[in-house]
């Protein structure tokens, strides 16, 4: 539970951990019917309708106004989004 919360960037209280453990356990237990299904040779469905090759032309469209974009930002500086210092590397 703590590892999953870490992956999701959530900090859970002890109470939440306890509550979620039981609740998610119940959902996963219910999901045993799907787990038990014989799906040998069955391809997964990522999309209900089989579209392919949906492409657009390489033509520029209007970008947003930077002032409007940065107005939405909790913090901005020098035309950029400002965040606290970054510790650790991108994956």
């Amino acid at each position: 539970m703590r590892h999953v919360a870490r992956l999701a960037r959530l900090s859970l209280t002890d109470e939440e951990v306890h509550l979620f453990t039981g609740q998610l356990g119940a959902v996963l237990e219910h999901a045993q019917d799907v787990e038990a299904l014989d799906t040998a040779g069955v391809p997964p469905t990522a999309h209900p309708l089989g579209l392919s090759n949906v492409l657009r032309d390489d033509e520029p469209t209007a970008s947003l106004d930077r002032e409007e974009v940065l107005r939405a930002a909790p913090r901005a500086e020098a035309g950029r989004f400002r965040v606290p210092p970054i510790v650790g590397d991108p994956a």
């Binding site: 539970m1 999953v4 919360a5 992956l7 999701a8 960037r9 959530l10 900090s11 859970l12 939440e16 979620f20 609740q23 998610l24 119940a26 959902v27 996963l28 219910h30 999901a31 045993q32 019917d33 799907v34 787990e35 299904l37 799906t39 069955v42 391809p43 997964p44 469905t45 990522a46 999309h47 209900p48 309708l49 579209l51 949906v54 657009r56 947003l64 106004d65 409007e68 974009v69 939405a72 930002a73 909790p74 913090r75 989004f81 965040v83 606290p84 210092p85 970054i86 510790v87 650790g88």
Partner: protein, 477 residues
């Protein structure tokens, strides 16, 4: 309030001004919304200005679209330029989207007037509209009960006559289930029939926008306006919008209609009785009605609660405090992410993010997400086989009528069960709609659900129109 079809005709004939229509809607909201809390944001000034503009255009002799002067409410997970869009979440509090969802632009092009944004379960995760950061919406038929969810604000707004039309979104039943619980019509179109561009994602491979209305004809009109290919959505079907108005004559003779026993057995007795009466009415209209078992339909709930949270866990990663919405500061960026997300999301959202993260994590992907997507394939195959025998399928929309506020909040699985009848169509991508059909012993509305194969909206509306005509006197809140 008049229907959208009527209002648009009256406005275009200049028998009533758009401004007067909007005033009536705003007055209804002012009168009832304190109690119901269907709206998160009412844009009265914007709606009035827009109505005046439409009236000016009419005075100049301009032709207006098929929704001329029709007040519409939008579920607050659809982006509206410069108008707050929160998904009923603290994490998006105060955010003003710099763009309109495609459906919003299409409604505006058709002459509609957006009066406000409606309440929902946070990020559309729920079946009761109790998971809203700004408090629950109440059912207009009985304010001690839920309106259903997650489009509960939209269904309550329509059911209470505050607006004739609202849009909702359906991922596991979030249009149809609240439509049933509030006694209105609710449509979940074929996946890809309505653009998702600007719909804030919950589960991308399931989400669809659709109308909530008081009549089948209004639903048809709205779907004609918002449907059709959108190049901004890669999953949008290439087809033009459906032509539905011609399907509403109520003729169901020789249609083959199957009752899905797996989705009907075990529902409340009243609900089952209404379904049987609905089937009898269609048979009386000349349809051939029979029963069919689709066993994998029962697996829908499990598959859904693996797939939807998995996609949601990824879709909701972007709410990290960097670019928009809430930020809770931290000593470093990672602390900021964790603090922001922990403060900004409510319990149900966190629960589903946890579930979905787990279902995708190393070592579990195949057993959970992968397996659920394979189960989905089996469901698609079984439904396709059923549609070789039947033109449309019939089952209840929800297993019960509206339940009391708080009745299921402590037991997520029990809450999830209220979507058991609606989930299969989301997983298969097929269209489905709920039509009000009488009430239970408690006097609360019951909905009957019509299911059709992909792109089968015309046939589905044909059956829905027949059901509407046969339904016992409408239940009025």
């Amino acid at each position: 309030m008049n229907t959208a079809v009527e209002l648009s005709e009256l406005v275009r004939a200049k028998e009533i001004s758009a401004r007067a229509v909007v005033e009536e809607s705003i007055a209804a909201i002012e009168e009832r919304d304190g109690e119901l809390h269907a709206f998160l944001h009412v844009d009265a000034e914007g709606a009035r200005a827009r109505a005046d503009e439409l009236d000016r255009l009419l005075a100049k002799g301009e032709e207006l679209g098929p929704l001329a002067g029709v007040p519409i409410a939008l579920k607050d997970n659809m982006c509206t330029r410069g108008v707050p869009t929160t998904c009923a979440s603290r994490i998006l509090e105060g955010w003003l989207p710099p763009y309109n969802a495609t459906v919003v632009d299409r409604l505006l092009d058709a002459g509609a007037i957006v009066v406000g944004k409606t309440n929902l379960d946070e990020f559309a995760m729920g079946s009761s509209t109790e998971n809203s950061a700004w408090g629950p919406t109440r059912n207009p038929h009985d304010t001690s009960r839920v309106p259903g969810g997650s489009s509960g604000g939209s269904s309550a707004a329509v059911a209470s006559g505050m607006v004739p039309v609202a849009l909702g979104s359906d991922t596991g039943g979030s249009i149809r289930q609240p439509a049933a619980l509030c006694g209105v019509v609710g449509v979940k179109p074929t996946y890809g029939a309505v653009s998702r561009y600007g719909l804030i994602a919950f589960a991308s491979s399931l989400d669809q926008i659709g109308p909530l209305t008081t009549t089948v004809a209004d639903a048809a009109l709205v779907l004609e306006v918002i449907g059709g290919h959108d190049p901004a959505d890669s999953t949008s079907l290439g087809d033009p919008a459906f032509e539905l108005a011609s399907q509403l004559d109520g003729d169901v003779s020789d249609l083959r209609i199957g009752i899905v026993t797996d989705l009907t057995d075990g529902v409340d007795q009243d609900v089952e009785s209404r379904l049987r009466e609905a089937a009898d009415a269609l048979a009386a209209g000349g349809a051939k009605v029979d029963e069919i078992s689709i066993p994998t339909a029962r697996l829908g709930l499990s598959a859904y609660y693996l797939i939807a949270p998995a996609e949601a866990s990824s879709n909701l990663a972007r709410y990290d405090g960097t670019r928009y919405g809430l930020r809770v500061e931290g000593a470093d960026v990672d602390e900021m992410f964790v603090a922001t997300r922990s403060a900004g999301f409510g319990a149900e959202v966190k629960r589903r993010i946890m579930l979905g993260t787990y279902a995708l994590s190393a070592g579990y992907y195949d057993a959970y997400y992968g397996q659920a997507q394979r189960a989905r394939t089996l469901m698609i195959r079984e439904f396709a086989a059923a549609y070789e025998q039947f033109d449309v399928l019939l089952c209840p929309t929800a297993p019960t009528t509206a339940f009391e506020l708080g009745a299921k909040t402590a037991d997520p699985l029990a809450m999830y069960m209220s979507d058991v009848c609606t989930i299969p169509s989301d997983l298969t991508g097929d269209p489905a709609m709920s039509v009000p059909f009488g009430s239970g012993a408690d006097g609360l509305p019951v909905g009957v659900q019509v299911l059709a194969p992909a792109r089968g909206e015309p046939m589905m509306f044909r059956v829905a129109a027949a059901l509407e005509a046969a339904a016992p006197g409408a239940v009025r809140p």
